[in-house]
Symmetry: C2
Subunit: 413 residues, 2 copies
């Protein structure tokens, strides 16, 4: 059968996205649908209702991951999977995550109404707590499912109010009985907004990342000496915030110093006692370094760490450094990435072989199955903000690429 003229229904995809965007809608035009909140539950209920309309086989596992399985001709073959996440950042956007759940839903609806049966089953999935903004770390439930993280570690994570992941999972009624445990997967596709400016800058529509950058997180703690600012001469001060300011600039200059191909950021800072007339005596800040080149990222860290120690020494501010998290760069399955590019090509869409700077559930899936992602442009490169947007046309284009990739993978023997 030739599916060349098969297309998803762009209007219907738009309408499901608009329905979802009402849940947790913010005055600024975004959504706030933090994981395991009432808003998350409401969106899950709607998603499950839609899965039922397609007569899918629904499973909810002990991490609250929701799977909808569409039978194939041969259900003994490992399925093709596609999904992302329903949860959002605080004051996040209407596309991050949810596009990767509504996209495959639309693809399955298209197969359904055209009575197309694939060889292999196709499974759509919503992963619990991808964002990690309520319960750190991010991507925790795909991590548990893929066997990279422990279930009880995830259960015990707490939010800023001290509520645990487990209690909140039970409270919203989404602690399923199925074990959160991987099964053989033939191929995994994650459809997502780019969250960066590259596609827009190049004037292209479909991005196929060759993989995800490595990710290094560091936590820096500095000590200074608190004193009333007025009577304390500049000479002899130990100002932990001034030391931090020097370090922030070193981090900012690092990619240029190392010759590019990396990003480095200080996103978070806590200053104590944080009073306008007391010299800061304690600062905590974070460093985030990402690169395709793991060695470059390590060398960059060693370089900036030496700078940190020199600054701490010259300011008389003792420093403590924690290497919080390191994930190596994760190259996707080359065959599957090429399939995304080629499928876009065949459908007449411009495309780009690129990298993903952001982490995704696809990172953990990539450890257990051939994995690829499909990116569509983020307007202005904006994401994790209320103004995050992608045109409906681009959402439809990405949906078509996903549909055809799913069909190809699901019809492989």
């Amino acid at each position: 059968m030739d599916f060349k003229n098969l297309h998803i229904n762009g209007k219907r995809l738009q309408s499901t996205l608009e329905e979802m965007a009402k849940i947790g809608a913010t005055p600024g035009g975004g959504v706030q649908r933090l994981t395991l909140t009432d808003e998350d539950k409401q969106a899950r209920d709607l998603f499950v209702k839609w899965l039922k309309e397609l007569e899918l086989d629904i499973t909810i596992d002990e991490m609250g991951n929701i799977f909808g399985k569409r039978a194939g001709k041969n259900n003994d073959l490992p399925p093709v999977m596609s999904g992302s996440h329903i949860d959002s950042q605080p004051k996040g956007g209407r596309f991050d995550g949810i596009l990767g759940v509504m996209g495959p839903l639309e693809a399955l609806r298209t197969l359904h109404e055209n009575n197309i049966q694939t060889e292999r089953p196709i499974v759509i999935v919503d992963w619990t707590n991808e964002e990690g903004s309520r319960f750190a770390p991010a991507m925790v439930s795909s991590g548990v499912w893929a066997g990279a993280l422990e279930r009880d570690y995830a259960y015990g994570r707490t939010d800023i109010n001290g509520l645990t992941f487990l209690d909140e999972l039970e409270r919203i009624g989404y602690r399923g009985k199925a074990p959160a445990k991987k099964w053989p997967v033939h191929a995994y596709y994650e459809y997502h907004i780019e969250q960066g400016p590259m596609l827009e800058r190049e004037g292209l529509i479909i991005g196929a990342p060759k993989g995800i950058l490595c990710l290094h997180w560091y936590d820096i703690y500095l000590e200074g000496e608190a004193n009333q600012v007025g009577p304390t001469p500049m000479e002899g001060r130990h100002d932990a915030l001034c030391a931090t300011a020097e370090m922030i600039l070193k981090v900012n200059q690092l990619p240029d110093k190392m010759g590019g191909n990396m990003v480095a950021t200080v996103g978070e800072i806590q200053n104590y006692p944080n009073s306008r007339n007391i010299i800061p005596d304690k600062v905590h800040f974070t460093v985030d370094i990402r690169s395709w080149d793991d060695d470059l990222a390590i060398r960059a860290w060693e370089d900036v760490k030496a700078d940190f120690e020199a600054i701490a020494h010259s300011r008389g501010c003792p420093i403590k450094i924690e290497e919080t998290w390191r994930v190596e760069h994760s190259p996707f399955d080359e065959k599957l990435v090429q399939r995304v590019l080629k499928t876009a090509e065949n459908l007449g869409y411009s495309n780009l072989h690129m990298v993903s700077g952001a982490g995704h559930d696809a990172s953990y899936m990539n450890q257990i199955a051939p994995t690829a992602m499909i990116f569509v442009p983020s307007i202005g490169g904006r994401s994790h903000v209320e103004v995050e947007a992608t045109t409906w046309e681009d959402c439809e284009v990405g949906g078509n690429v996903l549909l055809h990739c799913l069909i190809q993978s699901a019809n492989e023997n």
Copy 2:
């Protein structure tokens, strides 16, 4: 009558300070006795009990200021006054403020037990909310009493929990009936720890500040562009925290650039959204500039303001600047300052003519009466911290200087 051999009782002063230090004692050896809290009330009750033991005429005014008046031979003459504050910083020390209330109390006890009657009355005072750390701004009740601030402005100030000054003043039972309104004062002395390192550095015991430095407070607001850090190239970022880091260093370098004789500090910073994987899009920070030379402080501000604007421009981060508070430098009464130095000299104590970098209730009293301060050394120059300390010997020395200054001023016609 020759009072040359009259001395306070150092042990008794120590014991009153130790009693007070129990109220709001912190595990770190300091005190936390924020204004109008239960701890403040407890300390006030103890202070009033001690005033009653001396049979003083006690008045509590509508700002909660507590006055204890010891009659003179001629009670029609304006009194001599001395006092400071009972409240502390959060995790503050055992000397800041309270020494200036227990010091004159000890002086009056000494006069009392020696049956010494002065010509003029002597009034001891505890000013409500000198610190300003619970209800901004600082020194508010001496300000109202001296006529520089409005009572209802002070009443309406709120703490971080939204409680008002007035409600809390009533709750602890210290809203008195007497109007908070200045009366003629012959001389005002405030006994205080130095809160800086000068006396210790010079190896001297008594400091007599010629006045208080000018004080300029600024609030800076920067905007950047929030984006996921991974997929956002360094080029084209608008990172409000990086712009802030550059500005913090400019402030830190400012005194040196302007040729000294000033201090400049960034003590407070709020960063948004303050998430390790989002580029900061909003920062608020404060600038505190102090100098004996008002013009120099203004020129320094103009200089650093131009730097701020250039940095904001080059980083593409719009800046908003608020000039929050400006107090000109405040020279004390030269005659009274000389009296402090001379009295120390006569009693055989080493002494230093200096300046005060910190603001004090003496600033407002200085607007309505001849005013001077008596400083004793802060160990390591530390203050506003739990380890703040002054030796008991130095506390006694300062108490003796205060006693003799009070006698001299109170015996003037």
